[in-house]
């Protein structure tokens, strides 16, 4: 079924919560209000014309500093300063967070993408775990790396990082903690090493190999 038609059906079902449909880019997507996402998901799966029975990918996004022509302050990789301590910056992220759902239907063989935008302070999105169980781990990972809370999720623990890790790494304003459980996290600076190696690598064929 054509993307536009799917969006009409969805808008019919959840009314004002369907905020808009944008299809100039390579892939079209629908904006949905956060509070109606669970209902929309259930509808998309159970409606026999749509039948989206596979949630391909649930990606959390931090929209801070995004602008169309690449001038945004999207880069927030803070490395290590010369003395090995992690760099710090006073930049505080202000954009809002978002979740993108990419859906696919095995019978109808069509795809659909849904996006949700949530403010940074109150980053809460209702869970879709009872519609597609695969969302369980995807949502835990989004909470772990981006700090988007999924209300209604049975056990929203951190997925990949340690239970007591502070901060959410994939946020643009994330800064490396100085140390973690008394282990100093610093990049050993190797730029000034006086040592000249005994044998620099040779360029010929593999040394010692014959025939």
């Amino acid at each position: 079924m054509e993307q536009k038609a799917i969006y009409e059906l969805l808008a019919g079902k959840i009314g004002a919560a369907a905020l808009g449909f944008n299809d100039e880019g390579v892939e079209s997507y629908a904006e949905v209000a956060p509070e109606k996402i669970a209902e929309a998901a259930l509808f998309l799966r159970d409606e026999e014309q749509l039948g989206f029975n596979q949630l391909m990918c649930l990606s959390g996004i931090d929209w801070d500093g995004f602008d169309e022509n690449g001038k945004g302050k999207s880069v927030a990789i803070l490395g290590y300063s010369a003395d090995g301590k992690p760099e710090t910056s006073d930049r505080v992220g202000e954009g809002d967070l978002g979740v993108a759902y990419s859906l696919y239907s095995h019978e109808k063989k069509h795809k659909f993408t849904m996006r949700v935008r949530v403010s940074r302070e109150r980053a809460v999105v209702p869970t879709v775990i009872d519609v597609w169980s695969t969302a369980g781990w995807h949502e835990r990972e989004a909470w772990d790396l981006l700090g988007i809370r999924f209300e209604g999720h049975p056990d929203l623990r951190r997925m990949l990082l340690e239970e007591d890790w502070v901060g959410h790494p994939l946020r643009k304003d994330y800064q490396m903690p100085g140390q973690w459980e008394q282990v100093p996290l610093e990049g050993k600076d190797m730029t000034a090493s006086p040592f000249t190696p005994t044998s620099t690598p040779t360029t010929g064929p593999t040394p010692g190999a014959e025939g």
């Binding site: 880019g25 690449g70 169980s133 990082l161």
Partner: protein, 392 residues
């Protein structure tokens, strides 16, 4: 093994059958250093004797936050990181990332580059399935198939080393084509000769040695059955989904690159040695997929067109217009997808990696309950997970 029934007849744990004796479940840590967990996976098991009552996987031991690094370096530099996701089939991961970037850019990849990509990806798929066979046999106690499969994989590594330079981590594909052309004219005939040798002699050996061995079938038939509904619900893809009887393959149903030109069929689990969707089906789907991959490689090499193999000059930077797109390809373990949001610059704004083993492993929380410990090992082996792409 129905879970309720096993709980009933060995229901020692819940109620105290013998008054005065208090019995509780034994908390067991399987991993992260454990020979049967295919990498640094840790399974918290609650068992009563042999029967497992609760499985909670603990992940993150191999987490390198590659998605954060992606936001720091440009598109071409990140290709080498995709090798490190599924390090058993790195070419398939290269292919997934590069297809995703090209979907955003409007670049027309030359035919020759597409053919070389398909050949490299299929060779990598064969190597990955060989390892899946080998480690699965090892989990079941058969030591010898491991060495035979590795002997075949070495030949593939040599072939890929001659064309891409690396043995295991290649950085071979670039958004817009491939970095190197065919090294010398003997390479194509060497690949074809290897393919015929693999198809005619080796697969028959593995089947006789392992697949149709009664002990192997006894260990895998009717064990850890994933129903079709569970497979859809938990987003399983690849051999795990096909093992449960669903005929779905991205290369066929959502064709990308030049797969529409080749004809190959998609093996599906038929439940020959028990119910549909048991460990043996998933294993046998992989064995048959090796033969299909051989067919694709032969067709791709026979119709290798001439011409250049890069659309963009290797020295020039890769700029991607603004936009967001999810694109997926069929990697050895399942559907490998990238959701890339670009803001027009040289570095991606967000690059979410959807890895197949991450979704396939989640089924263990539901299907793993009620199994015996040795069946759990068989189940993890049949899922063929790689921790590199789970923890990213």
């Amino acid at each position: 093994m129905a879970t309720e029934e096993t709980k009933m007849n060995s229901g020692w744990a819940d109620q105290d059958q013998v008054p005065g004796i208090k019995s509780e479940l034994m908390e067991l840590n399987m991993g992260p250093q454990h020979p049967a967990t295919h990498g640094v996976l840790r399974l918290l098991l609650e068992t009563d004797g042999e029967i497992v009552y609760k499985v909670t996987p603990v992940l993150g031991y191999l987490h390198r936050c590659a998605e954060k690094i992606a936001e720091g370096i440009n598109y071409k530099q990140w290709v080498i990181y995709t090798d490190r996701f599924d390090y058993l089939a790195p070419m398939c991961c290269n292919h997934a990332y590069v297809t995703a970037v090209e979907k955003l850019m409007d670049v027309e990849v030359p035919e020759r580059a597409e053919h070389l990509r398909v050949v490299a990806a299929e060779l990598s798929r064969i190597a990955s399935h060989l390892i899946a066979l080998a480690t699965f046999g090892l989990d079941m106690g058969a030591w010898t198939p491991l060495l035979y499969c590795f002997r075949e994989r070495e030949v593939i590594l040599d072939l890929l080393e001659r064309i891409a330079g690396g043995r295991m981590l290649y950085n071979y594909m670039v958004p817009g084509g491939v970095r190197y052309d065919v090294p010398d004219e003997r390479w194509v005939s060497d690949v074809l000769e290897f393919i015929t040798m693999l198809e005619t002699k080796k697969i028959k050996d593995y089947n006789q040695l392992l697949s149709y061995n009664k002990i192997f079938i006894g260990r895998l038939g009717n064990v850890a059955v994933i129903s079709k509904q569970d497979a859809f619900d938990y987003g399983c893809t690849g051999p795990v989904l096909r093992g449960s009887g669903v005929k779905f393959d991205c290369r066929k149903d959502d064709p990308y690159s030049v797969y529409h030109k080749f004809d190959f069929d998609v093996p599906v689990g038929m439940g020959e040695m028990g119910t549909v969707g048991d460990c043996w089906d998933r294993y046998m789907v992989r064995v048959r997929e090796i033969e299909e991959a051989c067919k694709i490689v032969r067709q791709a090499l026979d119709s290798l067109p001439g011409g250049s193999c890069q659309a963009i000059e290797l020295k020039k930077p890769v700029k991607v217009p603004a936009g967001a797109a999810y694109s997926r390809t069929e990697s050895a373990k399942g559907e490998m997808g990238h959701y890339i949001i670009s803001d027009g610059g040289q570095t991606p704004f967000r690059n979410k990696v959807r890895s197949p083993s991450f979704c396939n492993l989640q089924v263990i929380e539901k299907v793993g309950v009620g199994q015996m410990v040795s069946d759990l090992v068989a189940f993890v082996g049949s899922l063929d997970i790689v921790l590199g792409e789970i923890d990213r």
